[in-house]
């Protein structure tokens, strides 16, 4: 009977938690640019040469297919702190290393990090900390409640998340 009431209590608590926590999330937003590329880097399979002639599939040969990954951090809930990554240098280095003229078929992929589950858990704990400590602080102002309430609110506002980003493409060289 005791176990039964424990289970019912857990279910009621979890339903209430789920309603309150609906929409609770961690996130990261990354702005990916390449504003200092020394060579044409195209998402499609063609590009212009230096005389602005359109270069298609038959006019170049693939030197190398590349892929690189990196991780970026950001905060999106409830504050929105966007991070930026300029991949110009990496792309320039890849083209120069392969003696290419351009990059085509650029593809960007994104994946969530496994750590985000832990950060979401931290955010949920801080949410409950703020929810419990703040009314207690109002009714009984003390240093302990103030520290817990302030700490919980700060953690809730600034919980980060990580995103894995993968960039792939093909280095090509003009056919003479």
């Amino acid at each position: 009977m005791k176990n039964c009431s424990k289970i019912i209590f857990l279910i009621v608590i979890s339903i209430c938690s789920s309603l309150i926590l609906n929409g609770c999330y961690v996130g990261a937003r990354v702005n990916l640019t390449a504003s200092h590329c020394d060579f044409p880097v195209s998402y499609t399979n063609n590009f212009y040469d230096s005389d602005y002639n359109l270069v298609g599939l038959d006019e170049y040969e693939i030197q190398e297919e590349f892929s690189f990954k990196f991780t970026k951090w950001g905060i999106t809930s409830p504050l929105n702190i966007e991070s930026e990554e300029d991949i110009s240098k990496k792309l320039n280095d890849i083209i120069k290393k392969n003696n290419g003229d351009a990059i085509v078929d650029l593809q960007v992929s994104v994946s969530s990090s496994l750590l985000n589950g832990f950060f979401l858990f931290t955010k949920v704990i801080s949410f409950w900390g703020a929810l419990i400590a703040t009314p207690l602080l109002i009714s009984d102002p003390s240093n302990e409640y103030a520290v817990v309430a302030a700490g919980s609110i700060i953690v809730y506002l600034f919980t980060p998340a990580a995103s894995h980003i993968k960039v792939e493409g093909k280095v090509v060289k003009l056919v003479e």
Partner: protein, 166 residues
């Protein structure tokens, strides 16, 4: 804190960790007959051969990634929908097509991508979804969710001089 409480704490923490999707979601533009550059088009030094005519932007809120594999998984009685929706994949390609307007002189440069990930709790947390799955269908989002989105912005340019355009 008793041993049971600590074990319960670690169990809940573990629960948050395992229900995640770490699949890759890609944005691959369909093969347009024009370049779409991530950076600036390279012009001969001091020679401006093109002018900006327009900017193409994908309205935020659209998920423009494509799912690489089916990501609905079922574990016991919990159905967790992981991954975003790819129903707007066509939107980015049609927006680019509209921006290029079938004009042989147009292309897109200074493209940038914004990648956005979200991992959170939807209606019904994990424990309550044991009940929720009994009264909802498999498509509903219950429990944890992952959204990965990629947005694209760029500027449409037009060549001033016709140079062997196809």
């Amino acid at each position: 804190m008793s041993k049971n409480n600590i074990s319960g704490f670690y169990f809940i923490c573990f629960f948050f960790l395992i229900f995640q999707s770490c699949n890759w979601h890609s944005l691959k533009l369909q093969p347009f007959s024009k370049p779409i550059y991530i950076g600036p088009q390279i012009a001969s030094s001091g020679d401006i051969n093109y002018s900006a005519v327009d900017s193409v932007g994908i309205i935020s809120g659209l998920c423009v990634h494509e799912k690489e594999e089916e990501t609905v998984s079922q574990t016991k009685n919990i159905t967790i929908y992981i991954g975003g929706k790819d129903y707007t994949k066509e939107n980015i390609n049609s927006s680019i097509r509209v921006a290029l307007q079938n004009d042989p002189k147009r292309f897109i440069a200074n493209g940038q991508m914004v990648v956005d990930i979200e991992h959170g709790i939807s209606v019904g947390a994990i424990l309550s979804s044991f009940l929720a799955t009994a009264i909802t269908n498999e498509e509903s989002e219950i429990g944890f969710y992952d959204n990965e989105s990629i947005y694209f912005w760029g500027t449409v340019y037009r060549l001033k001089n016709q140079k062997n355009q196809k």
